[in-house]
Symmetry: C2
Subunit: 530 residues, 2 copies
Amino acid sequence: MLSTSDHASVVSMNLFVALLCACIVLGHLLEENRWMNESITALLIGICTGVVILLLSGGKSSHLLVFSEDLFFIYLLPPIIFNAGFQVKKKQFFKNFITIMLFGAVGTLISCCIITLGVMQAFKKMDIGSLDIGEYLAIGAIFAATDSVCTLQVLNQDETPLLYSLVFGEGVVNDATSVVLFNAIHSFDLNHIDLSTAFHFSGNLLYLFFTSTMLGVLSGLLSAYIIKKLYIGRHSTDREVALMILMAYLSYMLAELCYMSGILTVFFCGIVMSHYTWHNVTESSRVTTKHTFATLSFVAEIFIFLYVGMDALDIEKWRFVSDSPGTSIAVSSVLLGLVLAGRAAFVFPLSFLSNLAKKSPNEKISFRQQVIIWWAGLMRGAVSMALAYNQFTMSGHTQQRTNAIMITSTITVVLVSTVVFGLMTKPLIRFVLPQPKHTVSMTMEDSSTPKSITIPFLGAAQDSEVDIDGHEIHRPSSIRALLATPTHTVHRYWRKFDDAFMRPVFGGRGFVPVDPGSPTERNGHHHQWH
Amino acid sequence: MLSTSDHASVVSMNLFVALLCACIVLGHLLEENRWMNESITALLIGICTGVVILLLSGGKSSHLLVFSEDLFFIYLLPPIIFNAGFQVKKKQFFKNFITIMLFGAVGTLISCCIITLGVMQAFKKMDIGSLDIGEYLAIGAIFAATDSVCTLQVLNQDETPLLYSLVFGEGVVNDATSVVLFNAIHSFDLNHIDLSTAFHFSGNLLYLFFTSTMLGVLSGLLSAYIIKKLYIGRHSTDREVALMILMAYLSYMLAELCYMSGILTVFFCGIVMSHYTWHNVTESSRVTTKHTFATLSFVAEIFIFLYVGMDALDIEKWRFVSDSPGTSIAVSSVLLGLVLAGRAAFVFPLSFLSNLAKKSPNEKISFRQQVIIWWAGLMRGAVSMALAYNQFTMSGHTQQRTNAIMITSTITVVLVSTVVFGLMTKPLIRFVLPQPKHTVSMTMEDSSTPKSITIPFLGAAQDSEVDIDGHEIHRPSSIRALLATPTHTVHRYWRKFDDAFMRPVFGGRGFVPVDPGSPTERNGHHHQWH
């Protein structure tokens, strides 16, 4: 046949697209369910499909596409992280910036060290085969990488804004740290670790954080400038939407090109675009970009979980494990335990440190909140999988016994942590942090987007000084007190700088409080989009 | 480096995304120019980039990505054709359905025969090497395939609705016919052509048209039904948008899976979706899908032309040609002449036939309009390229001299026809069909989308019975007269059937005339998207 050289790939694409549709419909039907979320639905559908394919193919293969790092890092991850940056509540995020950096950078290092040391001790007593120091450190880095995608699903930005910003922000920084750590392990000579190596490593990390963030900010500003300068009086929705998507993607790819952290770059590009660029375009572009980014991110998330579910049953990897199921179960259990311990080892001490620096008791992270932070960051996902594949399939595929055990253990940890920890997060939050849930869920249902992904009133409320949001009235603790006592002079200076220098050049709405009842911005554009 | 196994592919993706951005910005700046359009800008930028790469690589290679049929047929073509179906004026299209099918099916066969016969005569006198009958017929099929993408750029649906629907509709049917023809040439035994082969071929063609159309209609209806039934009172924009995009894509891939014409399928899926599904979703979903489809199509079009431009200078193909530049120029000229003659040979006779069947003089296609139809369908594009690559690079790559000459001639014909014919179409329309141009272009500039791609007031005016569109007031010829004398009883019966049976099940707005001044649909949703 002419148009498609490879019929098998067409079959698998059909199946994948059909399964994505099924996940969306099922996810919608299960929306009211208090345990499920879209990720777990997709994961379970993926596993079921894997079983069916395994039976149909006579036990030969369970997956249709080979797990590819490129697919994940080049196509699926950028829209998810960009959308998170685009829709994150910027005030909440920057208010907790120091804590987030502490958790994301220092916390990941602590977690990595604990997992490495634990694995070194535990594996000596098991029948695993010999691993060198680099491989132990790589295991630490692999299992220190949390899954920011799943965090987006289990925490709600409107119900628990402080926890969401802390855990998700940490997840973004953690992604970058893990990747840097993993690369550092491969590039440094690990037999001669001394103080200079440590300094070199910290320098690298700081340099990477700085350059990646700057690249993201600059791309965002460039897009705002181009759209503001070129499109005076001659707006065209399709060009604006295309430019925003392409420039966001370009920032990610440029970061990858320069061996920086594309995740950090595209996250900050999203923040800058939602602050400047988004306010320079027409109303229909605003509606379109907001929902397009959310939809892309939504589909990419479902795709990842479907994929991980189908890939989990790959028979080749499990062949070696079937000889010694005990070892594999023991390794997975040890790793799960170390993940729990490694996270506990930095969440509680660092929260204590962070609380020391804050004066008002309302700003401090309570012990109950610390428990949620600890629990909600336990999920391991596609980043861990990608790192594990990179580490353990390079030399001799999964034919070697040690590699096969490590790959299957990673899959086990990812599945168990996502399904078990993921399923239990929502009930745990309800148990640990009792809230006036009914009013919140009722106001949420009016929103036109799935709960898990977007925020209602993005334009109106997200960066206005007076955060009239309905939901926050119920919690008299952190935000209102902060607004009443504006100790954050940094934010005041930033606002002045933004009004005086940035907005004249790059546009944007600034910090004018918007009355949600009278959306003035829209009136002039009525004729354009019906 | 971890996250991207192949650094070269990251470099080329960066360049491609940056060039796409450049094309969009340049296309915007050149919008006022009466000669240029986005396709030609992209093609020229592609050629310039090709030259730069050729110089930088020391004459080794000019392209970054190898031309891949899969990339074109699986990722780039579906959004373009779907968007065309989604935004086409359905009344205009179905009113001319018979003429469109005549042009697309019979016209393509006539064109193919003339080109085949002409090539057989001409090549005997040239130093080309021996070709068998199958290869001659394949050349006929390759150069009978018009480029519907470029048509979208040079004709304006609002200025010349009759011509747009005829030429673009013909292009869609032509795509399907060419692909069927090309496959038939490869599967039939060409040394024993008799009447039964001809019947077999016609049967195949009709079966393919029917099944492809039905698949598209059914997928569209299924999406309408799912969204109508599942989402009662609980709309969620992201899920709706994702479902519409995925189901449209699924229809295309299913058609490809079953060896049908995905182009026809996705075109009719777009028509059905815009008639039913689009009216079942929320206002923000409507705005988002309309602009998302247009943006995807816009980016895919630019990508194709950029790609063809960069690929045109591939040095390997031109190596053989440099030995005998005369032959190559002669072949290209002969092919261009035959393309012109082949199209003239069916446009004028078939227009005459079509005019015979029409009673009202306003409905008839005037000679001036026939000239435009002839000219606007002369462009050859990516489908021709894909077919030529399929035919002439299978046996022995481009190493063989004949194959190399045919590939380079195809590139020459595509470039010349796109640039020369494409550049001259807009001026030709202005010369042959003088119109009150000023008022039209002024009303067009208010629209929020690029002229070449979308229609303003898609929701309000596209399928309402009373076509109050502003632009059509100026041409008292065809449309108003038709509306005054509704002879089309088929349309009346369809409307009754639609109101009685289809709309209760699949939703949709039906044929209620909408007053453009008071968009009633939107009022209930104000709170959802600001």
